[in-house]
């Protein structure tokens, strides 16, 4: 049974003449334990798909299901124990005046989970921090550490699916490598399913098995990451993306030869 399924997902904003359809019949199926990538340029609708699954947009039409349970437009609390989201900007996604402890405690309070202190310590260790971080504020942390806290907050309810919205694009290369390694390890250890949105083909091939390419709210191509790196993409737009991210390394090779 697929972990995440979307069938004929449509979504539009506005009404009447100003209607703007942002998703057109998106079909997706992600297996349990799989890591699935969504790529495309800004405005292609990739983040919108995540937001529908996370329950941030509720006026979509079509069918969505997580672990076989269809998603209703009114979302029960239990949904959020299965699905959690990590956002792009760790500077914007943590409350500046809440300590790390408060941030991590909040989901536990909402869902009435016990053993709060133990769970917070445990989750901090899991993401490579320790309990000395508990009573600090976000401004006392580096970007990489903040993103670790954001991942910890998503994982503290022990979800099965993580929706990752460009989790490393605000980070430096050296820190990006650390976070990508952490995400790869966590997926293996906790048997998580990932749906990763990014525009960096290097990141997507590193972390994912399969990738879907989106343009203007439509899925235009679905392929294995291996096929992607072997230049087997068929759709023009995908080829353009591959070319754009290859240009750099190829040009430098040409220079060395020439």
């Amino acid at each position: 049974m697929p972990m995440i399924q979307a069938h004929a997902l449509n979504l539009s904003f506005g009404t009447g003449a100003a209607i703007n359809q942002v998703l057109h019949d998106v079909n997706l199926s992600v297996a349990d334990g799989e890591s699935f990538g969504l790529v495309g340029e800004s405005g292609s609708g990739k983040t919108t798909v995540l937001r529908c699954l996370a329950g941030q947009y509720r006026h979509w039409s079509g069918a969505l299901s997580i672990a076989g349970a269809p998603l209703q437009h009114k979302i029960p609390k239990e949904h959020f124990r299965k699905v959690q989201m990590v956002f792009q900007d760790p500077y914007g996604s943590l409350h500046p005046r809440h300590t790390i402890d408060t941030a991590l405690r909040e989901p536990l309070i909402i869902h009435g989970v016990g053993d709060k202190d133990d769970r917070i310590n445990e989750i901090l260790l899991k993401v490579g921090l320790n309990d000395s971080f508990r009573f600090r504020y976000p401004h006392q942390l580096s970007g990489g550490q903040r993103q670790r806290v954001a991942i910890a907050r998503a994982l503290i309810l022990e979800p099965r699916v993580l929706l990752l919205d460009e989790p490393t694009s605000a980070l430096d290369v050296s820190v990006q490598a650390e976070i990508l390694n952490l995400l790869a390890d966590l997926r293996q250890r906790e048997k998580l399913t990932y749906l990763l949105v990014t525009h960096d083909l290097g990141v997507v091939t590193h972390l994912c098995d399969r990738v879907a390419v989106m343009q203007h709210g439509k899925l235009v191509e679905l392929l294995d990451c291996q096929a992607l790196s072997q230049d087997q993409a068929v759709h023009d737009y995908t080829r353009m993306l591959v070319q754009a991210s290859r240009d750099f390394s190829q040009a430098s090779e040409r220079r060395q030869v020439g």
Binding site: V173, V175, A177, N181, D200, V203, M240, F248, S252, Q256
Partner: protein, 279 residues
């Protein structure tokens, strides 16, 4: 590389406040001719600070010292504020990272570009308008007449960045400092913006200082690369030799890039050596 435009020797920048002193840039030396020079490094390595020091855009709490900092015949260190005004925007201009924050949201983009021109040239409004329209064409904006009258929120990110470039280049400066000009843009749009910038640099024989954290991009785009770590230049080499970089920091950064062609289970993580801070 021909005539040297900028010569910087032993640049030191400290930010002093009552509680503490931050030594942001330590002993940085470089020269810039008619070329594309990249400054790379992670956040906090001092790369933007170097760019801003050249234009003296720092608050008074910054203490800038150097053995030499000259631009053509002008000594930037001793230049008065009035002399700097003549240089800023006209002879050295700066392109910022995010067009959304650097354009005035309530002024039409065409008028903003004209303002940049009129600040340094005596010309009539209609003359300035003509020039702006031609400039917009040069940065490959398809319908300059229409775009002239748009407000910043009505243009896309890539177009916004090209408008910024138009604004900075219309005075025909000798040196452009571009501070991460493409990191807010998509892959496809990024290439367009880079091409536009390259064209202008070639045509008008400018020197370009390209501040970036993207090693892959810099490798292809620039002629020379300075790698900065904790305020120091740890390595300086030709961009095409980046592969043969010797400093462990540069090597570590290159290895940490996820690549489409070389999938690894684990990315090597940078191990920082305290020795890098002093050597």
């Amino acid at each position: 590389m021909s005539a040297i435009k900028l010569n910087v020797q032993g640049l030191d920048v400290r930010f002093v406040s009552s509680q503490k002193e931050t030594h942001a840039v330590r002993d940085v030396s470089f020269t810039l001719g008619r070329e594309k020079l990249a400054i790379v490094g992670e956040s906090g390595s001092g790369k933007s600070t170097v760019g801003r020091s050249l234009l003296k855009l720092h608050p008074p709490s910054a203490k800038i010292t150097a053995k030499a900092m000259t631009f053509g015949e002008v000594d930037l260190l001793s230049a008065s504020e009035k002399a700097m005004q003549k240089i800023r925007g006209q002879r050295i201009s700066m392109i910022m990272q995010d067009p959304k924050y650097s354009l005035n949201p309530v002024v039409k983009v065409g008028e903003q570009i004209a303002e940049a021109y009129l600040a340094h040239h005596k010309a009539s409004r209609s003359d300035a308008r003509e020039r702006v329209l031609r400039m917009l064409e040069q940065v490959h904006i398809r319908d300059p007449q229409r775009v002239y009258n748009l407000y910043p929120h009505e243009v896309s990110g890539g177009m916004g960045q090209r408008i910024m470039i138009a604004m900075m280049v219309i005075t025909r400066p000798e040196v452009i400092i571009a501070d991460e000009p493409t990191s807010a843009l998509d892959v496809s749009v990024r290439q367009q913006v880079l091409n536009v910038l390259e064209e202008l640099v070639d045509q008008q024989q400018m020197g370009l200082i390209f501040v970036s954290h993207d090693l892959n991009l810099v490798r292809n785009y620039c002629d020379r690369v300075l790698v900065m770590y904790a305020g120091r230049v740890v390595e300086s080499l030709a961009a095409c030799d980046l592969h043969y970089a010797e400093h462990p920091y540069t090597r570590g950064l290159l290895a940490a890039l996820p690549s489409m062609d070389n999938r690894r289970a684990h990315l090597p993580v940078l191990k920082r050596d305290p020795l890098w801070l002093t050597q």
